[in-house]
């Protein structure tokens, strides 16, 4: 619709005969759908007394090495399965499988994180035993996984001393969400510029409540504290303690 007379009228005169736009109110959280599925996963896990740990790190921090070592050391004492989120390969899953534990591979393709729907499908496929532990190895990335609740009992964030001690400042959302922060590769501390105290101080500024461990998955140094944490004998996030005691 074109008006030939000069434009002395306000602009909306042009639209006089058209339908006016209608505003529809939604007021909806953009993560609502994921959070609903996460809540469903959380209930499913609690009902079976299964603890699911969402393990996150940047690539190369040693997630898989720590899991392989943990499954080997604890042997039959820890009934556990693993859900592996990987963008393309199944190399990490192959390493877990070699330890003789059930593992489900989820290829996220271009996706940079697991979401609650993927965990649900992973749990369906893994079919974990009541009372067991499920390690969810998230895609190696400290940004995106922080935003997506999976319905896990606790979020474990691993950084390694070779990455530099400014990770908490660079990726605050991840550290804000963490129930446990592990500093891995402590055997390399004498050779790198990484200040453990300063790193902890930064983490405390972002998240005063998270647990904190320093260990080496390679030499085994500090692993006893990690096994205690897994066992629930050290402090844990309330949600985990509650959901596990609910199930008993």
């Amino acid at each position: 619709m074109r008006h030939e007379h000069p434009h002395e009228h306000p602009h909306d005169h042009d639209h006089e005969h058209e339908h006016h736009p209608v505003t529809i109110t939604l007021e909806q959280n953009l993560l609502a759908k994921n959070d609903l599925l996460a809540a469903r996963n959380r209930g499913w896990l609690a009902g079976r007394g299964i603890q699911a740990l969402n393990v996150m790190s940047s690539p190369g921090a040693g997630k898989t090495t720590l899991l392989v070592r943990t499954l080997t050391d604890l042997g039959a004492k820890l009934q556990a399965g693993v859900i592996e989120g990987d963008q393309e390969t199944s190399l990490d899953a192959d390493r877990i499988r070699a330890v003789g534990r059930p593992v489900i591979q989820i290829n996220t393709g271009a996706g940079c994180h697991l979401d609650a729907d993927m965990l649900q499908r992973g749990l369906d496929a893994l079919d974990p035993q009541p009372g067991s532990t499920v390690f969810v190895e998230n895609v190696g990335n400290l940004v995106c996984p922080a935003l997506f609740d999976l319905g896990e009992n606790a979020k474990v964030v691993i950084i390694s001393v070779t990455e530099g001690d400014d990770k908490p400042q660079k990726y605050p959302h991840m550290f804000m969400a963490a129930d446990l922060v592990i500093v891995n590769k402590s055997d390399l501390l004498p050779y790198v510029d990484f200040d453990v105290d300063d790193c902890l101080r930064q983490i405390r500024q972002i998240n005063p409540r998270t647990d904190f461990l320093v260990l080496s998955a390679t030499t085994g140094d500090g692993l006893a504290a990690w096994y205690d944490w897994l066992d629930g004998s050290t402090s844990r996030s309330d949600s985990l303690t509650e959901s596990l005691s609910d199930a008993h």
Binding site: L26, L30, C112, L147, Y171, P172
Partner: protein, 116 residues
Amino acid sequence: MAGRSASMHELSITQSLVDAVLERTGERTVTGVNLRIGPLSGVLPDAMRFCFDIVSADTPLAGAQLKIDEPRGLARCRNCRTEFELNDPILLCPCGSADVEVLSGRELMVMSVEVA
């Protein structure tokens, strides 16, 4: 902050946005989408704009104007009770305490849409 390649969770969040809108508006042409994204939400408005053009293509949202309201972050110190502005997730009161309650800034919402 991280660069675009590391921030593509905005892509799946934008997909949730488009899904949520389509659930309400169906086949109607959407001309505007009004979002509220707080500075503590973990989502970058610019990355969201970038993703929106890609995700909305070939849907009734294609070409819709994306308006993003960016509220300020606000926190209250549990130690000295001061309220102060907080625009990054470093929860530190000017008094030095990190025992801080976030009052606003975590919003990640679609508020409303305009349909033709």
